[in-house]
């Protein structure tokens, strides 16, 4: 009986046809990304996984990224990036994204980049706008700019529903993620409120300083003007 089963198994093994359907394409095909630049695209309808150094990436349908001399640049589409150590990457309108033992959601098209903090320490830099720290549930949008570079605003906290619409098709454990994010939202809101308070205080102080400086300048101008008038009168004996 065992021999019979073995025979059947061997027979089936010979009749098996293995078809490989490409899910992710590379351009150029034989590119390693270390000594050259290569583009990677998810051409399937489903989310695909891709590993790069100490990162686990989930690429949404049609997502495109570029690896150039060991550096990662997220170009278009949706991404879920998980960093197992410290990772660096960039995007079209974000110059530098640094993630330390954490994960983030990223969505991009040729006009706009959107970055959402999920976990860990995330810092990103937008040229002419400075550095931003992204806490869990914080979302920031950077838009294509004009002559003054990219356009961006302060990051803001988004709701569970908004997070769900972004993550549900990218990760398998989106439910747990949303639950854990839900718990952290309060802390993020407090931190963001503190940052906003500091910014507003700084603006108020700046305004106060400006008013004070202008007042001093006005007084100095008045004094100088009075001194000159006196000098003129004295010189021309106008009394």
């Amino acid at each position: 009986m065992k021999i019979f089963l073995k025979a059947v198994l061997i027979f089936f093994a010979f009749t098996l046809e293995i078809t490989i359907h490409a899910q992710i394409i590379k351009s150029p095909e034989a590119c390693n990304g270390e000594n050259e630049s290569c583009v990677i695209k998810n051409i399937s309808d489903k989310t695909q996984s891709y590993q790069f150094e100490n990162m686990n990436l989930r690429l949404g349908k049609g997502a495109i990224l570029r690896i150039s001399f060991g550096e990662l640049k997220l170009l278009t589409g949706e991404f879920f990036v998980e960093c197992l150590a410290t990772c660096m990457m960039s995007a079209l309108y974000i110059d530098k994204i640094q993630v330390n033992l954490g994960s983030l959601y990223f969505r991009a098209n040729v006009h706009k980049n959107e970055i959402l903090g999920i976990s860990g320490d995330i810092v990103h830099k937008v040229k002419s706008h400075g550095r931003f720290v992204l806490l869990p549930t914080m979302l920031q949008t950077v838009e294509k700019g004009n002559l003054l570079g990219s356009k961006t605003e302060m990051p803001h906290v988004i709701s569970d529903l908004q997070i769900k619409s972004r993550l549900s098709h990218l990760t398998k454990n989106s439910k747990q993620l949303i639950q854990s994010l839900s718990k952290q939202r309060r802390h993020t809101i407090d931190a963001l409120a503190e940052v906003n308070k500091q910014i507003i205080n700084r603006k108020i102080n700046n305004h106060k300083d400006t008013v004070k400086r202008k007042k001093i300048q006005k007084k100095q101008y008045g004094d100088e003007s009075y001194r000159l008038r006196l000098l003129f009168r004295k010189k021309n004996s106008v009394y």
Binding site: V39, I64, L148
Partner: protein, 228 residues
């Protein structure tokens, strides 16, 4: 009991064997697998072409972004000519690289038709390419393929027209030299040996391409006028 089990096993095995053989037979003779492979390959090629077009747009945006980053340092409101020229790349909707990319795809298709010796379709595709992209750098190459098709069809008059176009529009191009070699061959076929000899000598003197010179010398030797 063991005997029955063995019999049932044997019958099942034969059934499975027959089913598999039937499957293999159908798969082999219906030729569906080869079509499936062709479709998969074409779809992959299509995806690659799409990626190429998408990348052209992304790279254009990257370039615009780089310019946008530089300009504020240069001047927030560029007033001089060079500043305005630099700033002008930030606006506009026309994307020439995409057009260039599309032209490459069209040419690639024409080339593959030419290589597959489907000359009727290749001729049509090449003519379309030349009409649509008359300023492309690949026009001489397209003319060469067209004249080769006409030469193979023994339509010498049309071949000479294409060679004339190459000589008048791209006199210094390497491809023109190859076109002239074809002209020499036509002259030989028309028994205009002396004309052919003069032409080969002109090719040797005008084009410093070793492969072309070697071919011209060989032809001169064949017609017995290799007094160079």
């Amino acid at each position: 009991m063991l005997k029955y089990v063995f019999h049932i096993g044997a019958i099942m095995f034969s059934l499975i064997f027959m089913l598999c053989m039937n499957g293999l037979f159908l798969a082999h003779f219906s030729d569906t697998t080869s079509y499936e492979k062709t479709i998969a390959n074409l779809s992959l090629e299509n995806q690659r072409n799409l990626l190429e077009i998408e990348m052209q747009e992304i790279e254009m945006q990257e370039f615009k972004q780089e310019v946008a980053d530089i300009i504020p340092e240069y001047s927030n409101a560029p007033k001089d000519y060079s500043g305005r020229q630099l700033a002008s790349v930030l606006g506009g909707y026309v994307n020439p690289p995409i057009d260039e990319s599309l032209s490459k795809i069209l040419l690639r298709r024409a080339k593959s038709l030419y290589n597959e010796k489907d000359f009727v379709k290749a001729k049509k595709a090449l003519k379309k390419y030349i009409t649509k992209y008359p300023h492309s750098t690949f026009v001489p190459e397209s003319y060469l393929m067209l004249l080769n098709i006409e030469f193979k069809n023994k339509n010498y008059e049309q071949t000479m027209k294409y060679i004339d176009k190459l000589v008048s529009s791209y006199p210094d191009n390497e491809i023109t030299a190859y076109g002239l070699l074809v002209l020499g061959e036509i002259m030989e076929r028309q028994e205009r040996i002396e004309d052919a000899s003069v032409l080969y000598k002109t090719i040797i003197n005008s084009f410093e391409i070793k492969q072309v010179q070697r071919k011209a010398r060989k032809e001169l030797k064949n017609i017995g006028l290799d007094d160079l």
